[in-house]
């Protein structure tokens, strides 16, 4: 086994373990895990409609996953994708509500607004960090509440749809709705934009001067400054791009799913983005399949609920368990890596050193 495979393999183990624990919960409720998971799979991937629904659920998750990944690579622990999503979504909604223009202009303009506003919102913690050395974990987390409350205020007062009992805006202009890719679903071009964004991020990091500098300063600021990298600038840019991508997550919700800004528009996509980015080890391309998996849990969960007695909340349970196991991944990876060393030592010397890792072997995925 190669060491570079440790991260994907431990991620997969975490996922399998989560499904295993989910199965235990289903069993404890007196249901059949096989049936429940069968329904989940069928719902998520069993039909073109199911696949469309899965991919459309995955779209905002790709954006928030990217938003978190980019920021982390630039050395910023961005826990604020949720807030950036809200601000970006609101910016897209405002443009999509009030700018009378043809689709060809309105859609890019709305997306741009979402990117810029989400990005600026994301840049706030970066500026605070640069100017006052404030811990970004705290600021990004707190800014989530501000964004959520601020957008709630907007949809309940100045932007409230007249006559609506709920806190929501009017429907956006038709020209701003993202074109549907699969009839009868809301699977739209937002997904393609998300995939392109992931590719763009990957290219930025692997090829561009900006990406190189962002990465290097994210890994070692002292070193970066000595080789002439403007650390503060790159760190802020990283957060701006990260916030912008999360903001696009809000835009695709508004322009592709809801067609309006609804109070509490995101059921935690920003936080899911954090899990996804961690599982992907901040690799932009890896974000895509993992986001699709999370989308499948959401879309397949509904089918499972309809066809079995297992509630769709099981998907949330599985996600939560995945997060727990992901947190355990770092020590687990170390144990796996230690074990590989142990094996190679044994092979090279022919001696058997006392196995320091018996527990890791017995514990398996755990």
């Amino acid at each position: 086994m190669k060491k570079r495979l440790i991260i994907p393999i431990t991620s997969l183990l975490a996922l399998l373990a989560a499904f295993g624990i989910g199965a235990l919960i289903i069993l404890a409720n007196g249901d059949s895990p096989v049936q429940a998971y069968g329904a989940l799979l069928r719902g998520a991937f069993g039909s073109p409609r199911g696949i469309a629904s899965t991919l459309s659920s995955a779209t905002p998750l790709i954006f928030t996953g990217l938003g978190v990944a980019v920021a982390f690579k630039a050395g910023m622990a961005n826990i604020g994708a949720e807030g950036q999503l809200y601000m970006g979504g609101m910016a897209a909604a405002v443009v999509a509500l009030f700018v009378p223009a043809p689709s060809i202009i309105l859609i890019p303009l709305s997306l741009l607004a979402a990117f810029v506003i989400g990005g600026l919102y994301g840049a706030i913690p970066a500026v605070l960090k640069v100017k006052t050395n404030t811990n970004e974990v705290v600021t990004t987390l707190m800014l989530n509440y501000i964004a959520k409350s601020f957008t709630s205020f907007l949809v309940n007062y100045p932007l409230k749809a007249p006559g609506s009992p709920l806190g929501q805006t009017n429907n956006i202009l038709d020209a701003a709705k993202l074109p549907i890719l699969f009839k009868g679903s809301r699977f739209n071009i937002g997904f393609i934009v998300a995939v392109l964004a992931a590719v763009a991020v990957a290219v930025m990091y692997r090829r561009s001067v900006m990406g190189y500098e962002m990465r290097v300063q994210g890994e070692n600021k002292l070193f970066a400054s000595y080789v002439g990298i403007d650390v503060n600038k790159r760190l802020t840019q990283g957060m701006f791009i990260g916030g912008g991508l999360a903001g696009l997550g809000g835009a695709v919700l508004v322009m592709g799913i809801q067609y309006k800004f609804v109070q509490g528009i995101s059921p935690g996509y920003g936080f899911d983005g954090l899990t996804i980015a961690l599982m992907a080890a901040f690799n932009a391309i890896a974000v895509i399949p993992i986001a699709i998996l999370f989308g499948a849990l959401r879309s397949g969960g509904l089918t499972m609920e309809m066809n079995t007695a297992v509630p769709s909340e099981l998907g949330v349970v599985i996600q939560a368990v995945v997060i727990l196991f992901m947190a355990a991944r770092a020590p687990l990876s170390k144990k796996v890596s230690d074990y590989l060393d142990y094996r190679s030592t044994r092979r090279e010397t022919g001696k058997t050193p006392p196995d320091p890792l018996k527990k890791a072997e017995e514990g398996g995925a755990v």
Binding site: A224, S225, D341, P354
Partner: protein, 518 residues
Amino acid sequence: MSENIYAVEMEDICKSFGAVRANRNINFRVLKGEIHAIVGENGAGKTTLMNILFGALQPTSGRIRINGQEVTMSSPNKAIRLGIGMVHQHFELVPSFTVAENIMLGHESAGKFGAVDKAEIYRHAKELAEESGLKIDPYAKVGTLSVGLRQRVEILKALSCGAQILILDEPTAVLTPNESDELFEVLRRMSAQGKTIILITHKLKEVMAVADHITVLRQGETCGTLEKAKTNHMELAALMMGKSAAFSPLEKTGTTGEALLRVDHITARDSSRLEKLKNVTFDVHAGQILTIAGVEGNGQTELVSALLGFLPVASGSITALGTDITKLPVKDRRNYCSYIPEDRMTTGLDLAGSVHDNLIAGLHNRPEWRKGAFIDYAKTGRHVDSLIDAYAIKTDGSGIAASSLSGGNQQKIVVAREMNFGTKILIVSQPSRGVDIGATRFIHEQIIRMRNEGCAILLISTDLDEVFALSDEIKVIFEGSIVGTLSPDAVTPQELGLYMTGAKKMEGVSGTQEGGAA
């Protein structure tokens, strides 16, 4: 049982860190009351072995006997109970506490109601200092003491715990030559009093000066224990390096040319407005190694920061290749100066980054290495491959993380990058700091090669051997001022030491003496 003559016996000690086997079947015995030196290159496993003896690390396998008794060294506390004390390379003292408070920290004698009995602490500290002959004022605040005295506090602290076996990890790394001599005097006295001293070092001169027996480690294995009287420099060096390592002085060729780096009366203050550089002036010429010698903390860090653009100068100017760079940002200055930092592992390398990314850092934003907004990876890839080749960097391709390379190869990355920056000015800080003989020699050779090729080299060093081995001219820095301009041929180490400690000064030396070349 009869009296055992060995204070410490370590048998078949093995220790692995992941894939790295730091200690392999090490056998190591120390006689009671002797000074025993452990020498070896960096990464030879010296510190690991001592951390195992001190209980800070657990061996993968092997046995330890203290005074003939087999023990499991489960923690430093256990080691201390067994009479072992360790003085670390980096002191673990509270600067705002007095000497006595530091010495007694952790085992203060409790007075009434559990309060610390201050009088007792000072009495005990005084007693200890007198007994051991380590003279020190117990009432002085540690923060105000010199490095040498702080080390004394560390030793006293170990003794106050009842240490009979004292481990010193590279104790002279931070000392001036005179302080080192004093330390050796102290060690000899302690050994005469029956204490056992284990000295970790890679400076052979010290070993020959003070040790009774010498154990040489190489690549995690014992290469033998020698008696001082029956060995010499050459034999030790050969054992350490694993090959016959004759110290042939590198030849300097070529002539000194025009001044490439001119530092003109610069003054700089740190963030707390303290003046750290006072009217510093010097020129570095093409084909010259100018050394700024001095005891650490006399403005060397600030000088480098000012040259590279991290510390703004309050007055004066810096000129590189005829261009005034005083106001330029770091990025632009790097087009004139390459820099090998003292702390190569954190300042010189991005350990999480790939070998490739480390080797192109700083070059990456120069137009010739770019294609618009993108790095020309085809070109940088070729450059990186040629550097890996030329410097024989042992790596499994250029894509793997720098952290997975050995320490010596990591050092080579820094040297390879900075010496191929295409600049005519090279600033090198403490090239031999934390580096073994092999790597030091490599870096020294490269510095002389650059000099012979006509580069202007500014060397910052606190190591006298290095200063004499490399310098064409020496400037001594003391408390932010240049206090002497010396020629390495016309000054003795002792005299240089006097300048470095501020005991001697030249009058009116802030100007350069080589006006003719400019």
